[in-house]
């Protein structure tokens, strides 16, 4: 499984005075079994990019290949793409609509024309992936659940489609710190169990640094930087110049003027603690 994006361009309101380039020659690859973090200031084109990956938006020029399948080839249908690529929008709990949790999760698989048994087994599997007990929750109304639980149901609805690529647009936005951690851990767990490609957008640089294998940085519709987290966040002045923050630990170490010999960014508090202790101890 892989994603290959080449020279992707998308123009909003083409031909009108307010024409704007939402995506401008964006290229990147994601290889098998990776978590790709996408960062960028609000309006940088992150969400537009995600919507291209499952065919909700079509590029004005450029190519996307998912597992060798060219999205814009005439013989490729939207259904083929959406079976492979699941997209979880921001605040996905607003999209819940069914009477019961089980029915809501079953909505996607039902539209694939699967048998009752297959649908039921997918619902159970998806609920177990998002840590919702089937017997406790399947017959409840999704509207009686807490915010974190609703979000789990919404994510389960996408997982029930068995996507090989799972895309999440700010999956932890607006949650309290405990629920935030739970959902983030869940995303990593699902990634490990399903061996999928996970693409996730977040404004939280700590999360991005901690769970991504690779990061792409968007600014004004362009992909301006890509690489491993410790490389991307070592360009601290550049990251700040496009309106983004550094992870908290990275920022602290920068303020203290402590650097790693290889120049790579520091995220782990354990590592930071030892380096700080050495700095102080060394001077005594």
């Amino acid at each position: 499984m892989s994603i290959k994006v080449e020279n992707l361009c998308h123009v909003y309101r083409k031909g009108l005075p307010e024409e704007s380039k939402a995506l401008d020659e964006v290229s990147f690859d994601v290889s098998d079994n990776q978590i790709l973090g996408v960062i960028g200031h609000t309006g940088s084109g992150k969400s537009t990019l995600l919507q291209h990956l499952n065919g909700l938006l079509k590029a004005d020029s450029g190519e996307i290949s998912i597992d060798g399948m060219r999205l814009y080839a005439p013989e490729v249908s939207m259904l083929d793409i959406r079976k492979k690529v699941g997209l979880v929008f921001q605040y996905p709990e607003y999209q819940l609509f069914e009477e019961t949790v089980a029915k809501d999760i079953a909505f996607g698989p039902k539209n694939l024309g699967l048998t009752e048994e297959e649908i039921d087994s997918r619902v159970r599997e998806a609920m177990s992936l998002v840590n919702l007990d089937y017997d406790t929750f399947s017959e409840k109304s999704p509207f009686d659940l807490s915010g974190g639980q609703k979000r789990r149901v919404a994510i389960a609805g996408v997982l029930a489609m068995k996507p090989k690529i799972l895309i999440l647009d700010e999956p932890t936005a607006g949650l309290d710190p405990k629920t935030h951690k739970d959902i983030l851990n869940m995303v990593v767990d699902i990634h490990r169990k399903e061996k999928n490609i996970t693409v996730f957008v977040s404004h939280n640089m700590n999360d991005i640094a901690n769970i991504s294998d690779n990061i792409i940085v968007m600014d004004k519709g362009k992909c301006v930087l890509q690489g491993k987290p410790e490389e991307v966040f070592s360009h601290s002045d550049f990251i700040k110049s496009i309106g983004l923050d550094l992870p908290d630990v990275t920022q602290l170490m920068k303020d203290l003027g402590i650097e790693r010999e290889d120049g790579k960014a520091i995220f782990s508090l354990d590592e930071a603690e030892n380096m700080i202790f050495n700095m102080i101890g060394g001077s005594k």
Binding site: H41, T42, G43, S146, G147, G148, A173, G174, L175, D176, P177, K178, T179, H203, G243, L244, D245, D248, V249, Q251, L252, D255, L256, G257, L269, A272, E273, I276, F277, M279, I280, S283
Partner: protein, 277 residues
């Protein structure tokens, strides 16, 4: 110090029957005029319910809530209470009623029946306070989340309240929007407005003079940020975040470093460590 809010043995249940859970379980607090209080707690801890009890959106099941001398149960004073204690909510899109920024800000004062010239003055003043005067003719739906939230705050400022209750005003904003809104909140406080900030974010709460921590309908901790962060283990037990500087301070203390308990933010931590270098 004059008390602007007095909460006495407040018990609150959403349905008025005996087996229903107490969302607020015998809460008593007073808020000093001109203070900046943060109320923090996880979802369902009762923090928003307190806020709604202060400006009479909800009324106590038992106990009393006073804003100045007005009991929130006294129907005839409900407008006095809401004018004293304005409220800003989480979702900016749910708080904007008009299609032009300055009309939206004028909505509150218009409903108070204020003279047009005075409304004009108040709207100009309020938009200046939130740094949005250049956007006054714009349609709100074209603004960013942080800008919309600032318009919502201007709408409350135009009512000239003594106290503003912010109910998770930054929860739906991006980091830049969050910083913009926190800056405005701190400025309003500096100018004498009593601020009550309900938040999930410990880094925001750390900027207040007083932090109240709610858990399961009860007040779990109440004190200055320094006092609260002294008990960082308790915060973790309550599933709350601890600021990075406090976490690092505790780790260095465990390593035998003699580091002051007053260090609770990144700036003072950096200053302190750089002296030792």
């Amino acid at each position: 110090m004059e008390k602007i809010v007095r909460i006495e043995n407040l018990i609150f249940k959403y349905a008025n029957n005996n087996d229903e859970k107490r969302v607020l379980d015998d809460i008593s607090i007073t808020i000093d005029k001109g203070s900046f209080t943060a109320i923090i707690g996880k979802n369902g801890s009762g923090k928003s319910t307190i806020a709604k009890n202060i400006n009479a959106l909800l009324l106590p099941t038992e106990g009393n809530v006073f804003v100045y001398e007005y009991n929130t149960k006294a129907d005839e004073h409900i407008w006095d209470i809401r004018q004293c204690a304005g409220m800003v909510f989480q979702n900016p899109d749910n708080q904007i009623v008009s299609s032009v920024v300055e009309d939206d800000v004028a909505f509150g004062p218009e409903n108070l029946g204020i003279e047009p010239q005075e409304i004009r003055r108040r709207v100009d003043y309020a938009l200046k306070e939130v740094d949005m005067e250049n956007f006054r003719k714009r349609p709100p739906h074209m603004l960013s989340g942080g800008q919309k939230q600032r318009v919502a705050i201007a709408g409350v400022v135009a009512m000239k309240p003594d106290c503003i209750i912010f109910d998770e005003p930054t929860a739906m904003l991006d980091p830049r929007g969050r910083k913009e809104v926190m800056k405005i909140i701190k400025e309003l406080h500096r100018e004498g407005i009593t601020v009550i900030l309900i938040t999930h974010f410990m880094e925001e709460a750390a900027q207040a003079d007083r932090i109240i921590i709610m858990d399961d309908g009860k007040i779990e901790m109440d004190g200055s940020p320094v006092e609260i962060f002294e008990k960082s283990n308790r915060l973790k037990e309550l599933n709350l975040d601890v600021p990075l500087a406090v976490e690092l301070r505790d780790r260095l203390l465990r390593k035998g470093l003699n580091i002051s308990k007053d260090i609770i933010d990144k700036e003072s931590m950096v200053d302190y460590l750089c002296q030792l270098k």
